[in-house]
């Protein structure tokens, strides 16, 4: 591509997709170097939402730290909670009782559906399909009602405690979830009718933001973005945590690694999540919901790394404990942070309008990136 050869296009335009923007999901600034409409370079400026969560982890006790973590990836707050509780339980050598694990699994999978619905809504609206957004939110509303009935909060739920869950299931939980899961696959079909075969959608998302599997692993991309590039890797199958090994589900994998593949992967993941929930909802055992452990959590000295598959990718927690009630170092490995690195690689050479599509397909949450 011959660029900047004539007198007229000798100048490159540096434009900043500023922090406040309807299409970047959160406060993200992308400095684009443009040549006409082609992107030559993209530099992300983050940190607008930095709240010092890791420093807080060092002064708050283990139990106090859990709600702080909800605020990180505020869209999929339940996964954050799950990851951290499992990490600390591993450190302590405690396992949550089966009933608690079932509750955790159901809530986490519902949360995955919520997160993907929000992703679909915002991604579609960035590309102009405004109605899909409202349909997704209609479904999301149902799940948030379930969350609210369970723990009182819709968004920053603080569902699980270290050792199990605190709240018992409410009357009618199983019916409500069952009803939702029965209707849900039809709704996903609805979204697919609107978008999957749509000529305009295909034109906007095919061959946009391609990243090969090898590059993806090298750049640390995880989650549906990695699976879109053909690497079949999901922590729920590779290193099963919670009780995922007891359930039967597939991992959707894409081929080319463009935006369209990632879209298909996430749509299929929603269906698979519904499948897992429909299997789990009938099998919830009775029993205690909290393991027997002391109220004051003082794990042994040492460090541990544990990761789960959050809707965005591999969410990891690295906790260094020095024997006291607060962590010595609480490190969160945010999937969106590492995923955002690949923005530059995906976007260079495309048009300006594609930057929006690629940011949408990476499914980033600024709360997680900036912590």
């Amino acid at each position: 591509m011959a660029q900047a050869e004539t007198l007229f296009d000798a100048s490159e335009l540096t434009v900043s997709m500023g922090p406040q923007h309807p299409s970047t999901h959160g406060v993200l600034q992308v400095k684009l170097k443009l040549d006409g409409e082609r992107v030559l370079d993209a530099e992300c400026v983050i940190g607008y939402l930095h709240r010092g969560v890791e420093k807080l982890g060092e002064v708050q006790t283990y139990g106090q730290f859990v709600p702080t973590l909800d605020r990180m990836d505020y869209i999929a707050a339940v996964s954050n909670c799950l990851g951290y509780c499992e990490t600390i339980e591993k450190l302590l050598g405690v396992t949550a009782p089966p009933r608690a694990q079932y509750i955790r699994l159901i809530m986490t999978e519902l949360n995955r559906i919520t997160s993907h619905l929000l992703w679909l809504g915002t991604h579609a609206i960035d590309l102009g399909a405004i109605t899909t957004f409202l349909y997704c939110f209609r479904e999301r509303e149902e799940i948030l009602k379930i969350f609210e009935n369970y723990c009182g909060a819709r968004l920053t739920t603080h569902m699980f405690r270290i050792g199990g869950t605190q709240y018992e299931l409410y009357e009618g939980f199983q019916d409500q979830v069952r009803k939702f899961i029965q209707d849900f696959p039809k709704k996903v079909d609805e979204y697919e009718t609107l978008l999957t075969e749509n000529r305009i959608w295909l034109d906007r998302t095919k061959d946009v933001g391609i990243i090969s599997g090898k590059d993806a692993i090298d750049m640390g991309l995880t989650g549906p973005s990695l699976r879109g590039s053909g690497v079949q890797w999901d922590l729920r199958k590779a290193k099963p945590y919670c009780i995922y090994s007891e359930f039967d589900f597939d991992i959707p994998v894409g081929e080319v690694g463009d935006t369209y593949d990632r879209y298909l992967v996430r749509m299929e993941e929603m269906r698979q999540s519904a499948r897992i929930v429909s299997q789990a909802i009938d099998k919830i055992p009775d029993g205690p919901i909290m393991a027997k452990m002391s109220k004051i959590i003082k794990p042994p000295v040492g460090d541990i790394y544990h990761s789960i598959e959050s809707p965005k990718g591999e969410l990891g927690y690295y906790i260094v404990s020095d024997g006291s009630t607060a962590a010595y170092r609480a490190r969160v490995r945010p999937p969106s942070y590492v995923n955002l690195q690949s923005l530059k690689k995906m976007v260079v050479g495309h048009m300006v309008a594609d930057v929006v599509a690629v940011i949408g397909t990476l499914d980033i949450v600024l709360g997680e990136i900036d912590r």
């Binding site: 434009v15 399909a129 409202l134 749509n198 034109d203 906007r204 300006v352 309008a353 594609d354 929006v356």
Partner: protein, 350 residues
Amino acid sequence: MDFAIDNIIIPLIKIGIVFGVLSGVVALMTLAERKVAAFIQVRLGPMRVGPHGILQPLADGVKLMLKEDILPAKADKWIFTLAPIIALVPAFIVFAVIPFGPSLELFGKTIPLRITDLNIGLLYVLSISSVGILGIILGGWASNSKYPLMGALRSAAQMVSYEVALGFSIMGVLMIAGSLSLVDIVNKQKEFGWWFVFLQPLGFILFFVCGIAETNRAPFDLPEAESELVAGFHTEYSGFRFSLYFLAEYANMIAVSAMAVTLFFGGWLRPFANYPLPGFLAFLDAPLMGLVWFGIKVAIFLYCYLWFRWTWPRYRYDQLMKIGWQWLLPLALANLVVTAGIVLLFIRKG
């Protein structure tokens, strides 16, 4: 005296009625857009102002009038004010040649239900709609700021490209009808017994797609949507001037719909106009019913406009231009050649 009545008073009354109705429809469109959007999106839309939100356009109008009228310091004041007017006026004056109905007998006079009948009506419409583009360019330029100018140029480039394909797509109709006058085109459709859409299906599709692109509506509204960087030519506009651009867009939509109806769907003709109706339905043939038929057809087209906007995502700018030049124009030319062949062989008979 007769001369005065025939040539001054009656046209003035007609102009008054047409513009009044048009302004009313434009205002109604703002409400219809929101209501249709709402129903597609599983919600209700404006419900408070008036029963089911009927008086919402009134509220919107009052609000826009009372808003602070910001004039950017570096903007060129006269052109800044003039640009939206240049965008709005052509949309309205297109209606001067569109036939709304057959002739009406009133007070012993035969009053044709149209403002005038130019024998180059079609040419007039095409040239006037090109003037509207000027309003957009001037708006972007007068704002004296980099991004609105870029947005305006993109908009203008898009409109100009699709104008070419638009022009070619209606030439098929022109050939079949044999006249540029819109009244003749409608009468020819009555004569043939078939609306031109059945004779020129491809021409109709091309016309409508180009029309959507002309009016900068989805799925071709990238220059105007929350485009990532360039916020469009009307960034710097607020208050009353902004509402003028807004109304210009709706008026253009109505103009394109009216043209589509006139050229392809028989104008004011009722369906199956050549077949007589049984006695009790004879009122459907009355001259004033022509207006009703016209109105129904235009309403269907306007609904399609709204439907498309809220259902489909939007095209990227380069894809948009590619479609206009690489697909629509060749198809329009092919349509032209095929139609010319058929007309020569069958209709004109040598």
